[in-house]
């Protein structure tokens, strides 16, 4: 068993070495396919970043009447905090709101003067609520409206933001859906290209396969070295891809960050290096082995 495995691996490796031009071509095409696959991963990462940064910009604020005490508002905050769909609730007191308002309009003398004229703080205390998913805002608002402290709430700006929220949600959804569709489509093309390349490689050795059959080689004896050869194409293609991909990402990352400050491509691929390298190696090897297995089936009937 050990001996025949060794023989199979040797035969596969020898085949790979001796058909150097063909091997180089096939490995090149597969590397291209794996590179495309890696680019899709990067694109996927960026589109998720776009979606989440859009989602971060959306929130709902509940403004409380002046009669509401801080304790009462904190109770509402605690109630909301228990929800798993809510990622963050921030309390802004009346004084804080005034400070922020003043700071924001520091250069506007008219506003500063008008505020000074007033005896009382005209601004309201509020709770700024961020949900983990924009589709949950409607539910949160329903909860607030049904809450026992409903009478303390003056207004919820959800209704003003509703259209924006639903638009963001739609955009996020379509980015994700199209991304998925694109990934799937390109993955199918990638598999077809690899399959056809390997099939051509094996077609070139059609006569050899026929001879092996004629001298009494069983299907398995003939097939196994080709599967190993396919696997070797995959491993080499994966190595070539990694050697090219990381420098490309390293160079592209700062440029991407100019447009999207939060999206560090190199950071993402460095943090997930083991996972990514393992995945490229696995996908490459499987692509090679499976394509060989399918391609050789046609030539085994002599």
């Amino acid at each position: 068993m050990k001996e025949s495995l060794k023989r199979i691996f040797n035969a596969g490796w020898t085949n790979f070495k001796r058909n150097s031009y063909l091997s180089l071509g096939t490995t090149g095409v597969m590397a291209l396919v794996l590179f495309l696959f890696s680019a899709l991963l990067a694109l996927n990462f960026l589109s998720l970043k776009v979606v989440s940064s859009l989602q971060e910009k959306v929130d709902v604020t509940a403004y409380f009447k002046a009669v509401a005490t801080e304790d009462e508002i904190m109770k509402v905050k605690d109630d909301l905090s228990e929800w798993s769909q809510i990622s963050n609730v921030e309390y802004i007191s009346r004084d804080q709101a005034l400070e922020e308002f003043k700071a924001r309009h520091a250069g506007d003398i008219l506003i500063q003067d008008s505020l000074a004229e007033l005896d009382d703080n005209p601004l309201q205390a509020s709770l700024n609520i961020k949900a983990s998913n924009p589709s949950q805002y409607a539910e949160i608002v329903t909860f607030l409206e049904g809450n026992k402290f409903r009478t303390l709430v003056d207004k919820i700006n959800f209704y003003e933001n509703e259209e924006v929220i639903s638009r963001v949600e739609k955009i996020s959804q379509s980015i994700q859906n199209w991304g998925m569709l694109l990934t799937l489509g390109l993955a199918v093309i990638a598999v077809l290209i690899t399959f056809n390349t390997i099939r051509l490689t094996i077609y070139n050795q059609k006569q050899e396969i026929e001879i092996m059959r004629l001298v009494g080689g069983s299907n398995w004896h003939i097939r196994a070295p080709f599967l190993v050869e396919g696997g070797i194409y995959g491993v080499f293609a994966a190595i070539v891809t990694l050697v090219i991909f990381y420098p490309v990402i390293y160079l592209a990352s700062p440029k991407v960050e100019l447009v999207m400050p939060n999206a560090s491509l190199i950071g993402y691929f460095a943090a997930n290096a083991f996972k990514y390298i393992g995945m490229v190696l696995f996908v490459g090897t499987m692509l090679g082995v499976v394509s060989s297995a399918v391609a050789i089936r046609r030539f085994l009937k002599v």
Binding site: E3, E210, M212, L214, V215, G216, S218, N219, H221, V302
Partner: protein, 227 residues
């Protein structure tokens, strides 16, 4: 050992390659199959390796009806038979040693056996110097001797030689025939399909003459090429 019982073979294009052939070949015989091209010599040999199945009749090897073999048993049948072809059918990607070793590997031989037997057989056919050469680095005669070495390596009971001298000059042809005679002396059944008159006449053993898919003459001893 080998028996054809009323065998007919009709190819897809309706060409009748064999027409009711009955023939028996005994263990250890050397039989020359002669006749013009298209007489059915190669078809007769292909039936023995189950490359084709007869349209009618039965073919037996060691009392086994080849029509009853399962797909998985066909490689086992082929390992009992050594085949030599006019176009050599060598594995172009493998060198001389590996070409011969492959036939042993498929039989499940150990690495030690391969290491000792292959150089020995290459020595018998006079190719010890060419052990690391690839087929494209060899002459026609050398390729055919390599093919013979491959056919011999697993000590088959039957050797089928289909026009083995078709691509060779006279000197190389006689070398090949001498090798076949030597193999036959060791007890292996040899079936030689050829239309080379000089070769057949020089062997002087059983000669089966075919024409248009039929056996027209079977000279059991001291046969000559007569058409």
């Amino acid at each position: 050992m080998i028996q054809y019982k009323n065998v007919s073979t009709i190819y897809d294009d309706n060409f009748m390659a064999l027409d009711g052939v009955s023939l028996e070949i005994k263990l250890g015989e050397l039989v020359s199959l002669v006749g013009p091209s298209g007489a059915g010599k190669s078809t007769l040999l292909k039936l023995l390796t189950r490359e084709i199945v007869p349209s009618q009749g039965e073919v037996y090897v060691d009392k086994v009806n080849l029509a009853n073999l399962s797909e998985g048993d066909v490689p086992l049948l082929r390992r009992k038979i050594g085949t030599i072809f006019q176009d050599f059918k060598l594995l172009s990607n493998k060198n001389a040693f590996e070409n011969v070793a492959f036939a042993l590997e498929v039989c499940g031989a150990s690495s030690e056996e391969i290491e000792t037997d292959v150089p020995k057989v290459l020595g018998i056919v006079g190719l010890q110097e060419k052990i690391n050469s690839f087929p494209y680095q060899m002459s026609g005669g050398e390729k055919q001797r390599l093919a013979i070495a491959r056919a011999l390596i697993h000590r088959p009971n039957i050797i089928l030689a289909d026009e083995p001298t078709g691509n060779l000059d006279m000197v190389n042809s006689y070398d090949v025939v001498k090798l076949l005679l030597k193999i036959n002396e060791l007890g292996t059944t040899v079936i030689l399909a050829t239309h080379n008159r000089e070769i057949v006449n020089s062997i002087g053993r059983r000669v089966v003459t075919m024409e248009k898919g039929k056996v027209v003459r079977d000279q059991v001893e001291e046969g000559k090429y007569i058409i």
